[in-house]
Symmetry: C4
Subunit: 178 residues, 4 copies
């Protein structure tokens, strides 16, 4: 399996809404990292698709996305259960879905499994997804066991950038030591 | 591997008897979660089979089950070693066995391995099973290495429910944050 | 993979010598568990083979073994590098080697890999083997990654015994809660 | 998979430069272990290849290597992205690349994946590589999931040495208990 190329990736932002992020420092840290990765995605023209669960109740996506990014309401926990969202993912033409958002063990997990079944390579950025308390680690285990590749924002960023002379692409400041 | 569908599941309640649950808060927490999952199973018409080890010594199953649920004495640590219990499991017509109860590294583990050998997909709800002290984590490792899929009650519940409009099915209050 | 049957097992006691066990409580606990498992093996007529590294320097095996058990000096870290020890293992006619002793990441690890290469199913009893400090956990990881099945004394004991009516076979007291 | 033979190994020293090692005790410990393993490699005539990232900024390799060891500037995070470095690795004629250096989740990880893709067996010495804070453990997980074999200096050293009568080859003192 070669290194992950940004040219094959799309970013999937799952339910990054206030209703799923408490004041828990772990939640806010994950959200900051997801926002940082989304910013890098914009720099590299990595397309994005965002989902929202009951936006009238849970609020709007709290991450800045490129203009024109589809933001779709998701009545199923897993995005692949909603045909227009799966179609929006397919419309990007990319083969590797990078997941950020919430919650690790419910909507992120179910979306990851559904995307695997739909034929995508699926990568979850473990420090840019969130579920309260013990449920985050449990969700990571569920995803890894299901065949989802885990990564973290720093490793993925350097994998996307690939060469020393392109380091300036990384957004600064970053929410971790570059 | 697709998401777990409640229509294919049966709940296997293994030795959820007072003799295997001390006053250890971890034990009582696991029992509460097993009871919660059993309640959801009843809501979704997921059939159940319960086993008991020496009920005259260890007491009766401490979880409410649907009327008519088979409750069978298990003279072997693994349920598949007792033909009438394996038959009761087969009689449900379901292909995925979800295990809760005690002890993680003995009767649950041996039952899981036996059900895998009998051709079932086997899922252990890691926060609804119990063994004292270090033996719980050891038992989980043994099961995962043997090919048992691990899950936790919250993830499985949302996987069974699948859509936002059916959230009201989840029993409330729950022994964890829904 | 079915449950482990004692009829197919042999116990391999690796360098359970004073020179490899300090006064570290973790070492003494592992030695006590190895001794307990060896006692159960004797009850069940599970044959054993023991190795010793430089017994004139490291002392004699500190675990009671059945009369007639081969105790062989091992000039290689891995037992399979010494033909007469590998032959003694083969002479038991058993297909599953259960390893206890020291050190987890050196002689136990190398012996496990060698026995796998020689065609045995290899099980390491993780709480009956020892290496100082961090090296124990590292060694367990090395073995699991190499294809060695890990178990612990309690789980293996119940797997060997298999039925409730044979529980009296378990030696008492045990160095953990039965 | 047999034990690792030193006759098939080469040591790959990745960016072991002051710019990647802070005063963090974990960094200095990893560097000491890498230096120890490099010393053993010299004793066993295990060839080495070293890479450096921006040496004018990050300084020179801080580990003693055998005279004649290629030390090559690496403009890509993964060494396989730089053809002359990959060629230097191939020129050793060895099939197993043992990695030490920094950083675990960036240059070591990307180099490991690239070497796997190039057909090498890849082993990372987990206690002789470094990345700050949480990034070390994350990087180890990334590598293991990618198919890299993890080991630690002590286990690998005894695997290379193989017999008790060659123990004197191990450099003393060692930065851990031999």
């Amino acid at each position: 399996m070669p290194l992950t190329a940004h040219e094959d990736c799309l970013l999937v932002v799952i339910d990054a809404q206030p209703g799923f992020y408490s004041d828990d420092p772990a939640a806010l840290e994950a959200l900051a990292r997801a926002a940082w990765l989304a910013q890098l995605a914009r720099e590299l023209q990595v397309p994005a698709v965002a989902t929202e669960e009951e936006p009238e109740r849970n609020g709007a996506t709290g991450i800045e996305l490129a203009p024109g990014t589809p933001v779709l309401t998701k009545p199923t926990f897993g995005l692949a259960g909603t045909p227009e969202i799966l179609q929006a993912v397919r419309d990007t033409g990319r083969g590797t879905a990078v997941l950020v958002g919430a919650e690790t063990d419910v909507c992120v997990y179910q979306s990851a499994v559904g995307l695997l079944d739909a034929g995508f390579r699926v990568i979850a950025a473990e420090d840019a997804i969130f579920s309260p308390g013990e449920m985050h680690a449990r969700g990571l285990d569920r995803m890894r066991d299901a065949g989802v590749a885990l990564t973290h924002c720093k490793a993925l960023a350097y994998e996307w950038v690939r060469t020393v002379d392109r380091l300036a692409i990384l957004p600064r400041p970053a929410p971790f030591r570059l």
